[in-house]
């Protein structure tokens, strides 16, 4: 008995001596993101797989609500405790790069060029600001047309291939306030962006120096005019001005025949409206005969002050591996690796989104994007409320945007 307790005591002492040594050998990489429930579950599996392959690295993932994320990051940055790696909305990358908190990925990551070659160029470009790449595209998405097949069949209509057909279909499918042909989620730029770009609309010149001649160009004015006219004819649900029925609920319950949205809708409908069968089509083509849409998604960035850069880069490399990207595709996340196009493991409905990504455009890369977004949002509101003509609203918006860009 005495010997047993002695052995036990020795064992405990040995463990205690070994424990700190073991702890010192693992590096903890703090990873912040804003993933959904199913995505987070997948991420946990992937972290386990990564840690099994890298016993010396411990990934500490923290999830934030999208709307609180900027605030949380800023607080952490101001307090000198930012994470090592984070997954940022693509439109935030220039803002954080401008703050000077991000490490330039093309300088820090030894295999940057090799990785970059294997990625879709559009999403990769969203990391480019002031001559450097500040991150890598982790996942991408775009919006396409989501329509209610049954309602189209009932009305004897074809799915619109051009904006002209789209306009007539939207009005043909409208029945008072019982059914609207088309609905937008709001007036923030993301909502009208696909139809805006498809009709040749632009916000600024490619170098992002001015909006003059772009946001108020003939094509941009016409693009907004199309939507304003549709709204004037009551063929668009009034929810876009605020305080109405959301696009997902309205679309799934037959109130809205067409909406424009992203690949995550598949999972939302599967969970919330299992009986609803959604159909996808490319965004209708504008007068030039070309389709387009808007690029969304998230980029992975490395914080400049990270003391665990080596381990953090291992993790970033893993996030851009085929294993990780294919696993995430199971929950509706579109990969950024171009070699995965046509991969059989990808869900079938990705096809239309991956095709649309070929022509989709990134929103203006500038640290002032949040403000520009608000300016365009307000311009759209002015037009819809009839307080300004489309031309007036866009001319005023150009003045405001150019003031920001001149700073």
């Amino acid at each position: 008995m005495k010997r047993l307790s002695l052995t036990l005591a020795l064992l405990i002492v040995t463990c205690l001596m070994l424990a700190p040594a073991a702890a010192q050998d693992t590096t903890t990489v703090r990873y912040w993101h804003t993933m959904s429930d199913p995505e987070t579950a997948k991420l946990d599996e992937q972290i386990a797989a990564f840690e099994a392959a890298h016993p010396d690295i411990d990934i500490e993932a923290t999830r934030y609500a999208y709307n609180d994320f900027k605030e949380a990051l800023l607080t952490a940055i101001a307090g000198g405790e930012p994470p090592d790696v984070a997954r940022l909305d693509i439109v935030w990358v220039p803002e954080f790069a401008e703050l000077g908190v991000l490490a330039a990925m093309d300088e820090t990551l030894p295999n940057f060029n090799e990785l970059a070659e294997g990625l879709f160029p559009g999403p990769l470009q969203t990391n480019y600001w002031a001559g450097r790449y500040w991150g890598l595209p982790l996942n991408t998405n775009t919006q396409v047309l989501l329509y209610n097949q049954a309602q189209f069949e009932e009305a004897g209509l074809e799915v619109p291939a051009t904006v002209q057909d789209f306009v007539s279909a939207a009005c043909a499918l409208t029945e008072g306030d019982q059914q609207y042909g088309y609905a937008l989620g709001g007036t923030y730029f993301w909502a009208p962006a696909p139809l805006f770009y498809a009709q040749g609309g632009q916000i600024t010149d490619p170098e992002v120096t001015t909006a003059e001649g772009y946001l108020n160009s003939e094509a941009s004015v016409q693009a907004f005019q199309t939507l304003v006219d549709l709204y004037g004819e009551d063929c668009v649900s009034p929810n876009l001005l605020g305080g109405g029925i959301g696009t997902a609920e309205g679309h799934a319950t037959g109130l809205y025949s067409m909406i424009v949205d992203g690949p995550w809708m598949v999972d939302i409908y599967k969970n919330d409206f299992p009986d609803f069968e959604v159909s996808f089509a490319p965004i209708p083509a504008g007068p030039e005969g070309t389709t387009s849409s808007v690029v969304g998604g998230e980029n992975v960035v490395l914080f400049a002050d990270s003391p665990n850069q080596e381990a953090a880069l291992e993790w970033i490399n893993y996030l851009l591996s085929e294993d990780y990207q294919l696993a995430m595709s199971e929950v509706g996340v579109i990969p950024t690796l171009s070699r995965l196009v046509g991969n059989e493991a990808l869900p079938e409905y990705f096809g239309v989104f991956m095709d649309q990504l070929q022509t989709a455009q990134a929103r203006t890369p500038t640290p002032h994007w949040s403000e520009i977004d608000n300016i365009i949002n307000n311009a759209f509101q002015f037009m819809l409320r009839g307080e300004k003509t489309v031309e007036e609203a866009l001319n005023d918006a150009v003045t405001e945007v150019d003031t920001l860009l001149a700073e």
């Binding site: 800023l74 306030d177 605020g242 305080g243 029925i245 307000n378």
Partner: protein, 320 residues
């Protein structure tokens, strides 16, 4: 630490040397004066570190084009942000919205609160039940009830529109949140509904502190219910009413969560902003820390002045 000092100071008192005694008595008095401060110290330290220092620091931020990462690189702009903000149309609108919110919700909460408090002060069956019922909105989360009110006032399928249409008061559903004026109605109603329970409970405490004997004497003298209320209840409730007025006004000027959630912070057209939702947008959406801090300071100044005036004008000692 303070206790041994007391003993050191007191113990020599028994000694017969008068000189020493006098000196020690002085020391003892000094310690006695210091002891309360020793007890205050921890609280003051916390207050200083977590309230006063950040306040001073944010005042400094408000004078700069603040660089969050390298504060030393911040550009000094003096009162530039303050002048800029005061001349900004969006801020002026936000300030008006905030004042209107206070002017509407504070009297409404106090009026309704007083009525409810008087009812709850009667000896009625189910008194405890009603007290709990009126207090429930107070303890529910602002976020949840804001979303709830957003649903109730939905422009296409809200319960409020349904009832209005059933009652034939409106033909078309009212688009509450799409209109800058109408959007204030659900926000004001929410503020009143959520605050009235707390107001009533505080008033109830004030009512119960009024001696019953006064009412009995008044009744004997033939004062009717209105006169008893007008000449006893109201004057004796005055300290409670002043306290509530000040606290509710401060609370109303700080309206934030309901505005942020129900109008997405300022929709439509930045016309439904409150001072704090605008502060949030400038700071965390636009990274304009200096402007955000300046907005906070403007609000603080207004709250300070209004509270001071209210207390000075209304606070009076009452004797009975």
């Amino acid at each position: 630490m303070a206790t041994p000092n007391v003993h050191q100071g007191e113990a020599p008192r028994s000694l017969p040397r008068p000189q020493a005694k006098q000196k020690d008595a002085g020391l003892s008095l000094l310690f006695q004066r210091l002891i309360p401060y020793a007890f205050l110290l921890p609280g003051l330290l916390l207050f200083g570190v977590f309230v006063v220092l950040p306040m001073l620091y944010s005042f400094r931020i408000s004078l700069y084009d603040w660089d969050i990462l390298r504060p030393e690189r911040s550009e000094y702009v003096g009162l530039g942000h303050y002048l800029d903000i005061l001349n900004n149309g969006v801020f002026q609108r936000a300030a008006l919205n905030t004042l209107l919110y206070a002017v509407v919700t504070v009297p409404a909460q106090m009026g309704l609160g007083l009525g409810i408090a008087i009812l709850l002060n009667q000896r009625l069956p189910g008194q405890a039940f009603f007290r709990t019922l009126y207090y429930l909105p107070v303890i529910t989360s602002w976020v949840i009830v804001s979303l709830l009110f957003e649903y109730l006032f939905n422009g296409q399928a809200g319960l409020v529109n349904y009832l209005l249409q059933q009652a034939r008061l409106v033909d078309q559903p009212v688009r509450w949140l799409a209109d800058e004026t109408l959007a204030m109605i659900p926000i004001h109603l929410l503020g009143i509904w959520k605050g009235v329970g707390w107001t009533a409970i505080v008033m109830l405490a004030g009512l119960q502190a009024i001696p019953e004997a006064l009412y009995e004497a008044a009744a004997v003298d033939g004062a009717n219910a209105w006169r008893r209320f007008r000449f006893f209840t109201l004057p004796l409730l005055r300290p409670t009413l002043v306290f509530l007025l000040v606290v509710l006004t401060i609370g109303a000027l700080n309206v934030y969560i309901s505005g942020l959630l129900m109008t997405d912070g300022g929709n439509p057209l930045d016309r439904t902003h409150f001072v704090l939702t605008l502060m949030y947008e400038e700071t965390f959406d636009n990274f304009e820390f200096g402007r955000g801090a300046a907005i906070s300071y403007l609000l603080t100044a207004v709250v300070f002045v209004i509270s001071l005036v209210q207390i000075r004008v209304l606070q009076r000692d009452i004797e009975y």
